[in-house]
Subunit: 287 residues, 2 copies
Amino acid sequence: MEWITKKNVLIAGLGLMGGSYARALKRLGFHVMALDRDEEAVSYALRERIISEGAAGENDELVRKADAVILALYPGIVPQWVQEHQHLFQPGIMMTDVTGVKRQIVYKVQEILRKDVEFIAAHPMAGRELSGVQHSDDRIFRDANYIIVPTLQNTAKGIEWCGMLGKLLGCGKITVLSPEEHDDMIAFVSQLTHCIAVSLMTCSDNTHLSDYTGDSFRDLTRIARINDGMWSELFMMNREPLLAQMDTFLKELTEFRKMLAEGDVEGMREKMRISTQRRAAFNKPNQ
Amino acid sequence: MEWITKKNVLIAGLGLMGGSYARALKRLGFHVMALDRDEEAVSYALRERIISEGAAGENDELVRKADAVILALYPGIVPQWVQEHQHLFQPGIMMTDVTGVKRQIVYKVQEILRKDVEFIAAHPMAGRELSGVQHSDDRIFRDANYIIVPTLQNTAKGIEWCGMLGKLLGCGKITVLSPEEHDDMIAFVSQLTHCIAVSLMTCSDNTHLSDYTGDSFRDLTRIARINDGMWSELFMMNREPLLAQMDTFLKELTEFRKMLAEGDVEGMREKMRISTQRRAAFNKPNQ
């Protein structure tokens, strides 16, 4: 396992995800280095021993030492970061990312990347509704789904390395999807649900209702606390699949509304029975 | 505290909620009696010592002994149950319910009820996505909101008694709403959210996605496992408020879709900022 002997991991971007990767990998004994524009984030991570070494802004030395690079940046700046730093990379290093959209990232990075370095995309389906390294927590990976997103440019070794990283983080099920499959899936299970949660909170001023709600409303809107900068980028970079999923959902909810308006009780009950049956497949193994 | 000396509590309807009330009250030392049409439910509850006494079908003796009655029936049969059993009630007993809609229940029950008995409606905002006494659990009340729903027919004593019951169950915040306020609120925080969860599951066959989802999708669709008989009754009995809430939400999500389609990033970010700010009010005290 070549990976294990490669000790220096560089994390570019020290937010919630970068910090959570750092905690997990440092605990396993890796020499974890980090770069972030925000001085506060880096000094916090050093003080809390989340990373071994770090620098705010640029630091060529850290990039040169890296045996592996994890891109935990906002989606829009991923290709640019690679462009600006790849002349410092050691030959043969492995790179991955944590980005929530793939089509608009993976092909671009692989196109511009030096041919002696491999970029294999990944998406750990884990997170929190809070952002920043201060809220990072490597327990978010426990039992989480982890998706490897290779293209034809990737090698079997790269895919294996990426899956190993997911296992080391503590993720549960490791699967493989193409960038297109990933983005269609994510438009439905993640992006549409965030749009719904946001719209539930913005459709009327409902804060006075907090004394009356049950857990169902809390669960449904937990993700309505959202990093507006990052999520608007993710939505824009996956616009067509997300629009398609929104249309499918809007049509379905409108149909349910029509059943209610017309008193079609049997129609509503049939929808609920299908829903109940399908939802059973989504519980975690221990639920 | 007159309540404490009134020892015999009759629960009509031994499902998830009836069973959870029974567990909580029996633990506190009350003599808990139950009636249910389902022999299996009653014998399970007796075997598991969830209740002290019970009968499947009718049993006049149990109703006669009751110092307090809790109606934990499907919404549609609440008035009928009262009509058929009130000749057996002792004078001066207290009655309450757990029903998820109020306008169509409370006035009807109070209209037909004997004048020497008080019915004070309540709605504990607690539940589970599973039904039946076998899944009852009195921990669902812990920190839950509990809503007393009085009309002009109710007395101060009745309202006090009802609030005391909520406290005994272990509920957190006890509040008071009119039937109309309750139903408008519930259309938004509970019924609309259930419609959304169901529509997310039925809008396409997505069960193959279970290997890829994160917690946000699981949380949003937890309530998509739904008792179709009960919830279709609840929706039909609160049709107008629910239709109005569905329209408000559909309009808002359509507006968000338009922003995305037009690339209005600042518009989306503003929605997300409002959403984030509002959602903070809904966390439980310890979150």
